[in-house]
């Protein structure tokens, strides 16, 4: 089994977001970076499959050098080797092209990633990679089992899930509960230091560009209603907020 897991490096979900240079640049000061939460699920399932079926697991990140602690963490969790495409990952088509350019001709059986990254949230990289490589893609995938060359998976649909069967190779956008997040152990952390991490130059160009950032307007004060008079809330929602 040859598995590629693509990970993003994103601000911790509790981060306070701010911008600099006249709101044209994301401010990285004081931000703790993590493996994208959805990518972390994909990685966890990839590691489980690699452990039970053998083969190799390569982890790929499109990002700058500051993503390397997250890549090392993925190696500590169980990836065998890593590749970083040295570029700022701001555009979906660009990131997907880089992944596809790397993966073509390498014969991966599975290309896993999160359903979306938690910074730009477009949720399309897996599908673009699938199309560019001519492979079927599914997302959001919440269960994945393999038997020989056949994958059984469950895709979340509105109000439920759809179970389906497809042949490898596949590109999958993953989400919980496909696997539980893994925490690296000391042996993993030690061995990760010497696992190979190749840095490659990008080969394509972005098709979108962020001109300016903006923070939402601050929220007004919360209007408190007494629990004894809770029914009054419904009147306010109807006459004041006009949402009923």
């Amino acid at each position: 089994m040859k598995i590629l897991v693509c990970i993003s490096s994103v601000p911790d979900t509790t981060s306070k977001i701010s911008f600099e240079e006249n709101d044209t640049k994301f401010s990285k000061a004081g931000i703790q970076y993590i493996i994208g939460p959805y990518d972390d699920y994909a990685l966890a399932r990839g590691v489980e499959l690699r452990e039970s079926l053998g083969g190799t697991l390569t982890v790929l990140n499109v990002g700058l050098a500051d993503a390397e602690p997250q890549i090392r963490k993925a190696l500590a969790i169980g990836a065998d080797d890593a590749v970083r495409i040295d570029a700022e990952p701001t555009d979906s088509f660009f990131v997907a092209s880089e992944i596809a350019n790397y993966a073509k001709d390498k014969g991966f059986d599975l290309i896993l990633m999160g359903r979306e990254t938690t910074d730009y949230n477009s949720g399309v990289v897996h599908g673009i990679v699938g199309e560019l490589l001519g492979l079927p893609s599914f997302s959001p995938v919440m269960e994945l089992k393999l038997e020989g060359n056949t994958a059984t998976l469950a895709r979340e649909i509105e109000g439920g899930k759809e179970k389906l069967e497809a042949s490898l190779p596949l590109v999958l956008g993953c989400q919980e509960p496909i696997a539980e997040w893994k925490i690296p152990n000391m042996r993993g952390i030690m061995s990760a230091r010497t696992k190979p991490l190749a840095v490659l130059a990008p080969s394509s160009a972005a098709l979108t560009n962020i001109d300016k950032y903006e923070l939402p307007a601050p929220k007004g004060a919360c209007k408190m209603i007494s629990a004894d008079d809770a029914g009054a809330l419904i009147k306010l929602l109807q006459t004041e907020a006009k949402v009923l």
């Binding site: 601000p11 079927p136 649909i157 109000g159 209603i225 809770a230």
Partner: protein
């Protein structure tokens, strides 16, 4: 500049988010001086499809082959990219949904296009093509230029208030050869809650957290949701504990909702939960802890026991 709107059908009707996409598309077409075509895939009557005209469409292309009956990402995206080519679409629009994301993505790959998701306003076409989108799961916005020839945008719910006319659209049958694509996967089983309001589409949402104390105590919340005609949702701990199904989980790693009204019952309001609900128009928080962080993000708050407050709210709704 030709505009194509990709829509989704549920139970033979346009989803509300798709009607919003049609309306948004008609505004974009008017702005850039182009025509708009609506693409609908799946089963629906011509009568229903012609309703796209209420929201500004003049023409609907309907693809309804047998092999398109179930949601097939590969086949749907092929229909979308082929249609985009045949109508020379320069702007392709959809409402964001997990299926639409997957379908739009492959069409983006086929057409080598730039895509921007979670768009919250009409584009600025005065100088290039710029859209404002929500990023960092609702914590910020980014004005983004799309520089490719064909531009894809996925809009968030509630971007524009819908305006309805009495015009109807013409419906044309569309046939695209998707033969081999539908063989790449086989649907084994579809498990779907029936008779409930779809959560991502819902205008009103009632949501429960650990403060509900257990799945057996959910009835007062369900009663309020039923009285309001609201969808039900829950926090991540609740779905992790299997008190409620995963498709109800809203938050950073769950469904992101943008209803007119979100009522949170016994949810403390961790930042990961807020990420899934911060696009709601009005937020109501009911919690017995006056220090619950959720009150800071709320428009209306009640400090009290959910099991005391919920029946009062339900009674007040029924009395409207």
């Amino acid at each position: 500049m030709s505009v194509l709107v990709y829509t989704e059908l549920a139970d033979g009707q346009f989803k509300k988010s798709s009607l919003e996409a049609i309306f948004y598309g008609s505004k974009v077409a008017a702005q850039v001086g182009g025509s708009m075509t609506v693409l609908a895939i799946g089963s629906a009557s011509d009568d229903e499809l012609s309703k796209a005209g209420y929201f500004g469409a003049t023409k609907v292309l309907h693809a309804n082959a047998q092999n398109l009956a179930s949601e097939n990402i590969m086949a749907y995206s092929k229909v979308l990219s082929e249609t985009a080519k045949s109508v020379s679409a320069k702007v392709v629009i959809s409402a964001k949904s997990s299926l639409a994301d997957a379908v739009m993505a492959r069409a983006v790959g086929a057409l080598k296009a730039g895509l921007v998701g979670n768009v919250v306003e009409l584009p600025d076409t005065s100088n290039g093509f710029k859209v404002k989108r929500s990023i960092f799961t609702g914590k910020a916005f980014a004005e983004t230029s799309i520089t490719s020839d064909v531009k894809f945008i996925a809009i968030k719910k509630n971007v524009l208030p819908l305006e309805e006319t009495s015009n109807s659209a013409t419906v044309e049958k569309l046939s695209v050869d998707t033969g081999s694509l539908t063989e790449s996967s086989k649907v084994l089983e579809t498990i779907k809650a029936t008779g409930t309001v779809s959560l991502p589409e819902a205008d009103l949402v009632v949501s429960g957290g650990r403060g509900m104390k257990g799945p057996e105590h959910w009835q007062p919340l369900l009663d309020l949701a039923e009285a309001l005609g609201a969808a039900t949702a829950c926090s991540k701990p609740v779905s992790d504990l299997d008190w409620r199904p995963h498709h109800e989980h809203v938050g950073q790693t769950g469904v992101k909702v943008a209803p007119n009204l979100y009522i949170a019952c016994g949810i403390s309001g961790a930042i990961q939960h807020l990420a899934g609900v911060n696009s709601s128009k009005v937020i109501v928080v009911i919690n017995k802890d006056p220090e619950a962080p959720f009150f800071k993000a709320a428009d209306y708050g009640i400090v009290g026991d959910v099991f005391d407050v919920l029946p009062k709210l339900t009674a007040a709704v029924k009395a409207l």
